[in-house]
Symmetry: C2
Subunit: 368 residues, 2 copies
């Protein structure tokens, strides 16, 4: 293989950001050989030189993209011609492209090069975090905990009246808490694409964001996954809290989830498979009387890697590979029932040779 | 063609969001036939049913994805098998896939189906906005203007002392203004992935974000492109302001940019090509004594479509196609010189049969 080629924008393609540290919403090309070369529009060249960690930055105007546009009429065709010349100049004949390489360009390159579609090696590299990456994640986690503190305090300081929670005489809403979380994260240099603040039966769907007045006497799931605007690394944590009276059933569910999380956390170490960690969590739920059923109970995987994406390798699920030291993963068992709602607890840990280091420093307490 | 197939996440693939109104960070499959069908993980099914505008939502567990995972070992292989069965069940034999369809899945599907890679028709549909979409963009623009007002007021209320601007005895920084903009946008339900607040020579690169103390007596480029968190539609605007004394040269540059923007805005109507609008702007700059030179002068295109992406069709550039009524485009000429900095003015308009409606309501004034 003479090189690995990526085409996309690094805002969406984290592999490209990982390899270049060049952040842009606009499509560009990255060639990974002994060194990393970027092919960008002439407008982006200056910034790419300054910001990217690439060895070389070439602009499409160096390959006469404007003349080619005049000749071919179509921007995509002009771009493909530039690409062919760019690759030939770099001695490329056999080329690797990742899983999600654009089909149209793949098809075109197959005419002039020997192209192999690879399982992206970069997402495997990304799964093992350097100390610097771990620091970046830790710093996002600190912001996450500040926001979680604010959210939990809002629920704690509310009043349970009838079916809903109130603050200063007004119903306390999901939107209000979410907005406080987002402002707090922004002050810490983080953004949150989505934050879950879902109470009562709404939380029975683990991905429901939550809207409207929050219920009294019912579990409220708060799941925050901020991304640092500077480092681009995520953190991820969940707590479930309740204001008012908890039913015996909800208390038992919470205890079962807590127990399952402890079992999951204790299972983690380099060398164990994500599948095995997940199996142990599934088993402990079954033993405690919460077997799997279609659509309710423990409906998702035990955890996932966290880094430049909020969900990345490795997975703690039936598809989970062997864990390595330096992986950063969540452990987030949950139980969901349409008539009750949801309970989920999520910590984030670094995998080590002997076990794991928990990056989450926040109490697990149901009733506030 | 029996259907058009999309695979990706709708956070990054706006075509998929446009067709489904289902927002997720996780990969899913969308098949567009007479009706829209989503193929999602069992965990996402409930939310997809509730939130998506699709006609049908199928979960991968209905195709036994877990059993296939056990049989094949690899999640990607299991997914591809599910996909083949899903497509066969829907009578698909000849399949269209968009430009950026994942190469690995394309390659696999070619074995069982007749697959054609298409120039995405969806991005062409997206270029013409319905009245509802125009309202969504207008609403993001309102938020944008509130944030711009705040930013311009911060510069206006600063003191020009020596080389820098000061407020309350402290240097006024790009970060400070950007942070005020972001909090204001958040309060309006919008997010900003990036905001440019670049002063002096830093602004000579049109995409530089700007850092540190802002200069006195030099143009400051403020470019805000918020996205509504609920509708997902963007707005986009730029103003250039200066506190202190403007040199004659900077004043002339500002006048040239303003003149070019007026020429660009007046050229716009349904039926003209984006290329022609751009040519007129290039010509007026040349006539005013600002010809193109490599790397400085007017270094970018005149404008771009705005919608679910901040840069989308149609383009006002050499590659620009014919404008249609309902297009929403920016008109944003600028001039950039390494020794001076940059000046850019950007409004956003809806293309109409006779001309355009300007969605931007904000004064253009250099010296505050």
């Amino acid at each position: 293989m003479d090189g690995l080629l990526f085409i996309g924008d690094s805002l969406c393609d984290s592999d490209m950001f990982y390899l270049s540290h060049f952040l842009t919403q606009d499509r560009f090309t990255l060639l990974a050989q002994e060194k990393i070369t970027l092919l960008v529009s002439s407008m982006e060249k200056g910034r790419a030189w300054k910001e990217a960690s690439a060895d070389e930055v070439i602009s499409t105007s160096q390959y006469g993209v404007m003349d080619k546009l005049k000749a071919f009429g179509k921007p995509d065709e002009a771009y493909r011609q530039v690409l062919v010349e760019f690759l030939r100049d770099r001695g490329v004949r056999r080329l690797g492209v990742p899983f999600r390489f654009p089909a149209a360009i793949y098809q075109h390159l197959c005419r002039d090069f020997q192209v192999t579609v690879l399982d992206s090696p970069v997402s495997r590299w990304r799964a093992v975090k350097t100390l610097q990456e771990q620091d970046a994640i830790r710093s996002s986690q600190k912001a996450c905990e500040k926001a979680m503190r604010l959210a939990v305090d809002l629920v704690a300081s509310s009043e349970s009246r009838g079916e809903n929670l109130f603050r200063h005489g007004q119903p306390l809403t999901s939107e209000q808490i979410r907005s406080s979380i987002e402002v707090a994260l922004l002050e810490e240099g983080c953004e949150a694409v989505d934050t879950i603040v879902a109470g009562g039966v709404a939380a029975a769907d683990p991905h429901a964001r939550g809207t409207g007045a929050l219920p009294a006497n019912a579990p409220i799931v708060i799941d925050i996954f901020p991304r640092s605007k500077s480092s681009r690394y995520f953190a991820d944590m969940t707590r479930t809290v309740l204001k008012g009276e908890a039913s015996l059933e909800v208390k038992e569910i919470y205890q079962a989830v807590l127990q399952a999380q402890i079992v999951g956390l204790e299972a983690i170490r380099a060398g164990i498979s994500g599948n095995e960690v997940h199996s142990r969590v599934v088993r402990i739920f079954r033993e405690q009387g919460y077997p799997e059923r279609e659509g309710c109970g423990f409906t998702h995987s035990t955890g996932h890697g966290v880094g430049l994406e909020v969900h990345e390798r490795p997975s703690l699920s039936e598809a989970g590979d062997t864990l390595e030291a330096g992986n950063v993963v969540t452990v987030e068992p949950g139980l969901y029932y349409p008539e009750i709602g949801g309970v989920r607890l999520e910590d984030m840990v670094v995998v080590t040779a002997q076990g794991s280091k928990n990056l989450t420093n926040f109490e697990r307490k149901l009733v506030l």
